[in-house]
């Protein structure tokens, strides 16, 4: 194993008027630390396409994860998929990205737009070998991973964006590459890169997609540890132990909570300076030497949880936090974009000042926030460790 990790994100938009997406992305992690990602695009759109693509991606990812060969997967799909009554065929295209122990990527592609690979921010035409399995032409590649490699898989709804509207022949592959090359250098997460690509497609379709469009992005990056302290320990005697553990860890340090940061300031013997810059409706941040970010507690973290929940679902609010200067946006950027491994140090002290029925803050809310935030971060593929004090 090396110190690389894969940031995986995807987003789809549906054919105008359809409730279901005919594209489906399935991500399965294997016990040996490998990951199988399948992007399948079912024939047509709506319910039928959705069933076809879901079956295809589920079957392939499950079988590959169980160690079966690609030949067997393709044969199983051909034998299993329901046949379309109008067209008389069972058909779903697929792209498989298999990340083997964060060292090698295996690409297996059938009839979807060819996966774009950006290396050092530039398009790289990687080698492919062609094989025929069950009459299907399949392209196979093995790629040794490097830091900052970006893999972009798409359904054909992406290059077809804007046909007859913005462009005569759709959004050309070269132009998609140029668009993504520029974006890939800005430090966006895989989820945001795929969102930017699909949102652009939606724009080219004039907000009325003529096909389901999906993109799935994999970013290869170095592991980045981060530490977050939230709440004072329930037992005062544990302050030393909690602070020692927190500050001895590698990576950036975030402290949330007024009382918590005052305790940390006393422990570090440095002044805590609260700013008076109100940005939006989130309380101002503070400054403490030796700590990368100091914010208020529950209100700020509550907003971070809202952003996190949105990010793992529709990802409609990324523009709020990816540019904002308030405490919640700053935490979101550090946790969602920068960190890959996050250690939480959560103090279970009950703040007597908050146990006021007039205030919408209480102990349970705080613990729920931690639970919801860590759940969402795990869905983003982060490694999370939570210690309670």
């Amino acid at each position: 194993m090396n110190d690389l990790t894969c940031d995986i994100g995807y987003k789809s938009i549906n054919h105008v008027g359809e409730q279901l997406c005919g594209d489906h992305v399935e991500v399965v992690e294997q016990e040996d630390g490998s990951t199988v990602i399948v992007l399948a695009d079912g024939l047509g759109s709506g319910v039928k396409a959705s069933i076809l693509s879901t079956l295809t991606s589920k079957i392939i990812s499950t079988m590959l994860a169980a160690g079966l060969s690609i030949e067997e997967c393709v044969e199983t799909i051909a034998a299993t998929l329901p046949v379309d009554s109008q067209r008389g065929v069972a058909y779903s295209t697929f792209t498989i990205i298999r990340l083997i122990r964060n060292q090698t990527a295996e690409l297996i592609q059938y009839d979807n737009p060819q996966v774009i690979v950006l290396r050092n921010g530039e398009n790289w035409e990687y080698p492919r070998t062609e094989t025929t399995i069950g009459g299907k032409q399949i392209f196979h590649s093995l790629i040794r991973l490097q830091e900052d490699d970006v893999f972009i898989a798409m359904s054909d709804g992406c290059p077809h964006a804007g046909i007859g509207r913005e462009y005569n022949l759709g959004w050309k592959r070269e132009d998609i590459i140029k668009f993504m090359e520029a974006m890939s250098l800005c430090g966006y997460t895989a989820k945001n890169l795929s969102t930017l690509l699909v949102d652009e497609c939606n724009k080219l379709y004039g907000g009325e997609p003529g096909d389901d469009a999906t993109s799935c992005v994999v970013r290869i990056r170095k592991r980045v540890p981060m530490n977050m302290l939230f709440g004072p320990p329930s037992n005062r005697d544990d302050v030393d132990r909690m602070m020692n553990l927190f500050f001895s860890k590698e990576g950036k340090h975030i402290i949330c909570g007024g009382t918590t940061s005052s305790i940390a300031a006393r422990w570090l013997d440095k002044p805590l300076r609260a700013s008076l810059d109100f940005v939006g409706d989130i309380p101002p941040i503070a400054y403490l030497e030796g700590v990368d970010l100091v914010t208020e507690g529950v209100i700020t973290v509550n907003r971070v949880v809202e952003y996190a929940r949105d990010y793992v679902n529709e990802n409609l609010r990324y523009e709020d936090w990816s540019n904002g200067r308030d405490g919640a946006s700053l935490i979101s950027r550090l946790l969602f974009e920068e960190a890959t491994d996050i250690n939480f140090y959560v103090g279970k002290a009950i703040n007597p000042a908050h146990q006021n029925p007039d205030l919408p803050i209480n102990f349970n809310i705080k613990m729920n926030l931690v639970q919801e935030l860590t759940d969402a971060l795990k869905k983003m593929g982060k490694r999370i460790k939570v210690s309670f004090f």
């Binding site: 005052s262 609260a274 008076l276 000042a353």
Partner: protein, 84 residues
Amino acid sequence: MKVTVCIGSSCHIKGSRPVVEQLQELIAKEELQDKIELSGSFCMGKCRQGVCVTVDGEFYSVSPESVPSFFEKTILPKIGCRSV
């Protein structure tokens, strides 16, 4: 003179933002920037009495509505200015 406003969770909900903004405005209007240092602080431990404000360490309970009278009756006399 140092005026510190609590910007902790509880006081934030009770309106520390409008308190700070009004104080900033009043200080600018009276041109007292050289005499009054306005700063923020996290929880002062008296959330029930928020918004918590200290003037040179002395505690006051202020609300967004009471800022003008607080400024006139407490802050101005302390720096030797007559109320306007």
